[in-house]
């Protein structure tokens, strides 16, 4: 089921800032690189919309033969409880394929999605996780036989900030500066209103 968010910038001037929306992975590590899941345009007085659909996908990023080259594997849709194995077929870059259920049960809880590094020869990579095909988090430095897992709750974290530069990521500590919204599971539409009073940006939510 898809949920539409309608965000109204109920202010006279965004002052060059915009609204960023984040999803927070469960049990995040310090070195996780958090992506702004949604970046709105940020026009004062306008209403912008985005959709949330609980579809998780994953890929991995590794270096090419030249460290200046980046390789992104083909993506895979994952459901909780599934584990994907990254292998290096014929010496090519890491490729994701579904791991045996027994291995998944050994490595993950039923709520977690995971990737295990089984490349041979070993290739270190970053594990990237997406919701609705938009990036949520990158987990760097996945070593040999290491499993990384991804789990999140449909809690949305709103923040007013300067638009991120290309490739810019955030750290877990940034969540303390955000407004958390826990969406009712039955919601199909959520109206979000952004206001500013005495320098303080505020978000108000109305789910229906």
């Amino acid at each position: 089921m898809s949920t539409r968010f309608n965000v109204t910038m109920d202010v006279e001037d965004m002052q060059g800032k915009t609204v960023l929306v984040f999803l927070k992975p469960q049990n995040p590590q310090r070195n996780y690189m958090i992506h702004a899941w949604q970046v709105l345009t940020g026009s004062a007085g306008a209403t912008e919309s985005f959709d949330y659909d609980a579809v998780i996908s994953t890929d991995v990023t590794s270096d090419g033969e030249k460290p200046t080259n980046t390789i992104i594997s083909g993506g895979q849709v994952v459901v909780p409880g599934q584990l994907f194995s990254a292998t290096s077929p014929g010496g090519l870059s890491p490729k994701l394929q579904l791991a045996p259920t027994s291995l998944a049960q050994d490595k993950l809880t039923p709520e977690q999605c995971g990737v295990i590094n089984q490349t041979n020869p070993f290739t270190q990579f970053s594990s990237n996780w997406y919701v609705n095909n938009r990036p949520v988090v990158s987990m760097p430095f996945v070593d040999a036989n290491m499993t990384v897992s991804f789990e999140y709750l449909p809690n949305f974290y709103f923040m007013v900030a300067s638009p991120p530069m290309v490739g810019q990521t955030y750290i877990v500590q940034n969540f303390s500066d955000m407004t958390q919204y826990q969406m009712p599971i039955t919601a199909t539409d959520v109206d979000v209103s952004l206001t500013k009073d005495k320098g303080l940006w505020s978000f108000n939510f109305d789910a229906h």
Binding site: G64, T68, N69, S73, G90, L92, K95
Partner: protein
């Protein structure tokens, strides 16, 4: 000027070697009177080795920066190779021995061929000697002009033509002649193009095929 390439492996269990084509009219070593030197040759080295697995994308950047190293072809000359020296198109360079090593210096514009970089071996005062010129792009060896004798020249012209060759992923980087690259697929982006998409796929008959967007494609390389 940089051009960003995005390479997608759509279904081949192969790697891809990418070569920078030497578009100079006479990439082989030639005398000052422009006649070809017997036995002289030019060989290519892969500039890129793309090993994206099926479904993966690999990104690389092509620039027109060129550099060279002048080195003795044989050991025992008592001269070390020159430092990696950045060079410019339309410039003429002189390779000469100095303080126990080869040195390379800019001696002005190159009038012999528009867009080419030319290097001439100076006479070191000891015969016989042969010099090799290693050409580099992004600090990666892309080709070698071999067996330059005294007062002989070699040229490299980077016109932005790349040659894509599908190979087994375990293949080590190979040294190819210009004729070997007949099997490769050549592509030259228009000067205004900043982003190129390259796809490697496999036809029903098992042959690998490269396709490009924008689709300008050089079927035959100049000098073929």
């Amino acid at each position: 000027m940089n051009t960003e390439y995005e390479f997608i492996n759509e279904g081949a269990a192969l790697a891809t070697q990418v070569f920078v084509w030497n578009d100079a009219e006479q990439p082989a070593v030639c005398n000052c009177d422009q006649s070809a030197v017997s036995g002289a040759n030019f060989s290519y080295r892969p500039w890129q080795f793309l090993n994206a697995s099926v479904g993966a994308r690999e990104f690389f950047c092509f620039s027109d920066g060129l550099a060279l190293v002048a080195r003795p072809l044989a050991a025992g000359t008592g001269l070390a190779a020159s430092k990696l020296t950045p060079v410019l198109a339309d410039h003429h360079y002189l390779a000469f021995p100095a303080a126990g090593a080869w040195s390379v210096t800019d001696i002005g514009s190159n009038s012999s061929e528009v867009g080419a970089t030319e290097v001439t071996a100076a006479g070191p005062g000891m015969d016989p000697f042969e010099l090799a010129i290693d050409w580099y792009l992004d600090r990666t060896l892309i080709g070698t002009s071999q067996a330059l004798g005294k007062n002989q020249s070699a040229r490299f012209k980077n016109s932005g033509s790349l040659c894509f060759l599908a190979v087994g992923p375990e293949n080590p980087p190979s040294c190819l002649t210009p004729q070997d690259l007949d099997a490769a697929t050549a592509y030259q982006a228009a000067p205004y193009v900043r982003k190129v998409l390259v796809k490697l796929s496999t036809r029903a008959d098992g042959h690998s095929v490269f396709s490009f967007s924008p689709p300008r494609r050089t079927q035959r390389l100049s000098g073929d």
